[in-house]
Amino acid sequence: MDLSLLADPVFLAQNLVDGLSRGALYGVYAMGFTLIFGVLDILNLAHAATFMWCAFVGWLIMAAGGAPLPLGLVAAMIAGAAIALMLEFVAFRPLRREGADKLSSMISSIGASLIMVSVAEAVFGVQTRRFPNSVLNPKPFFIGGAGGVRISRAQILILAASVLLMVALGLFIRKSRMGKAIRAVAASQKAARLLGIDVNSVIVVTFLVGGALAGAAGILVALLTNNIVPGMGNQIELRGLAVVILGGMGNIEGAVVGGFLLGLVETLTIAYVPGGSDIKDAIAFLILFIILLVKPNGIMGRGKADRA
């Protein structure tokens, strides 16, 4: 690589912008994942499939239906909430009612995920779907003139929407009545029941919110990569899990911090390490491994008592 790039502030700034956009998406995805985990103590392994379906819904409504971006985002979030609700009633609640152990529920969510991906392949085929240029508007903005930092419209939307969702979720969980009930159920279902909280309806709300976040992540990732395929969940699934563990299982702030961290590490590795794009996952996961050696409960985690 060109050594002069190392000292180039524009190059660095460019990579920070790209890394933050990528990290914001990991954060949004992981927030929904960790929220559901915090409440149920179960990894919802159909979160990635939900994410993928919402990317298609957003694509359908925008590319085929001609809807504007914000409407596409809202539609994807509604689709995500609806899919997650279905998962709760089909894949999770029946097992919970029978007192099945957590591993069974996880397997059940893997099954749901496989079905969702297969159905997507049957409906959409395996070829890549892309947004028309009219949606993406390829003309980026430049900060600091034509040679400055390039930031695409998609990136602006991603950063704005992600930060908005992070703040909104934080306020919802910390301040609202339902948010407190969600934290109560996450802390102890038995204690929540004794307070008169209907645990099942709190779980439903959790799935609605978590699914909407998967939906937002789906459409925003689709806008960034412009590469919508039934298998697109695979690329974020493991990263999402890594971010959730990195941030502390069930910890929402941790998911945000972990997401940004992973996005930055990946992007900076590609930019500054020779052959970085081939080994970015190896480096990212090596760093994850080292962090977990030092902080086994994640960056923000203090063990189970700290969840949600």
């Binding site: 109560a184 102890s188 004794l194 307070l195 008169g196 909280i197 209907d198 700290d306």
Partner: protein, 238 residues
């Protein structure tokens, strides 16, 4: 009519019968102590009353209404609130949030709830000082106060207390019992399960002695405290 009327209650865990045909009633305004050895079915009875475990047979009438098949949240809403063994405080939430969630089922005006909140903080000034602290950082005694204070926020007609003195220093035990008497004076009926049988009977109007899931003896507290068989088996030396 009694506030709580339990008839032929049975609770089973698989093939284990924890409660085997228990009948008793609790009059409004009373403190009733439930004593008995470990495994006598005390906690199982309370869990069944709160709907956390289903009675396999029998009826539970609360305020004249059968609640045996109700969901736990509906039972709280009806006015039967439990402070479980081990307190079940919400450790990652603040003291104030715990107290606030105690009023989850309340449908009356916010001003009424706020008044009760002040009443709870007045009853437990230690909690008022620690409002913004995480509940998990409280001492055992403070956690017990929080659990009781939180239950009071639901404006219970009947308060079930499961081993409120467990694990507390002797001085705190007396303080907790005093508080329980105080709560009754303000009009709340109390069903009190205690290992600390002597102290429980001293503040109670009457007692139920359970053994092997059945009612072994019932009577006014003074009678039980004076009964040599009860003293021998359940109260130990004074």
């Amino acid at each position: 009519m009694s506030l709580l009327e339990v008839r032929d209650l049975e609770v089973r865990y698989g093939s284990i019968e924890a409660v085997r045909g228990l009948s008793f009633s609790v009059e409004a305004g009373a403190i009733v102590a439930v004593i008995g050895a470990n495994g006598a079915g005390k906690s199982s009875t309370l869990l069944a009353l709160s709907g956390l475990v289903r009675a396999s047979s029998g009826s539970i009438a609360f305020g004249g209404r059968d609640i045996a098949a109700l969901r736990p949240d509906r039972i709280v809403r009806a006015g039967l609130v439990q402070v479980p063994e081990g307190r079940a405080i919400l450790a990652p939430l603040t003291v104030a949030e715990n107290i606030e969630l105690g009023a989850w089922t309340r449908r009356d005006a916010a001003a009424e709830v706020a008044k009760d909140e002040e009443r709870v903080y007045a009853l437990f000034p230690r909690l008022a000082e620690r409002r913004l602290q995480l509940a998990g950082s409280l001492s055992g005694g403070e956690q017990q106060m929080l659990a009781i204070g939180r239950a009071l926020m639901a404006a219970p007609k009947l308060l079930l207390l499961d081993e409120p003195s467990m694990g507390l220093a002797p001085m705190l035990v007396s303080a907790i019992f005093e508080t329980i008497a105080e709560i009754r004076r303000s009009g709340t009926t109390i069903l009190l399960v205690e290992q600390n049988a002597r102290q429980a009977l001293r503040i109670a109007d009457s007692g139920l002695v359970l053994a092997h899931g059945r009612l072994f003896k019932r009577g006014p507290s003074e009678e039980l405290l004076a009964d040599p068989a009860i003293v021998e088996a359940f109260l130990g030396k004074a």
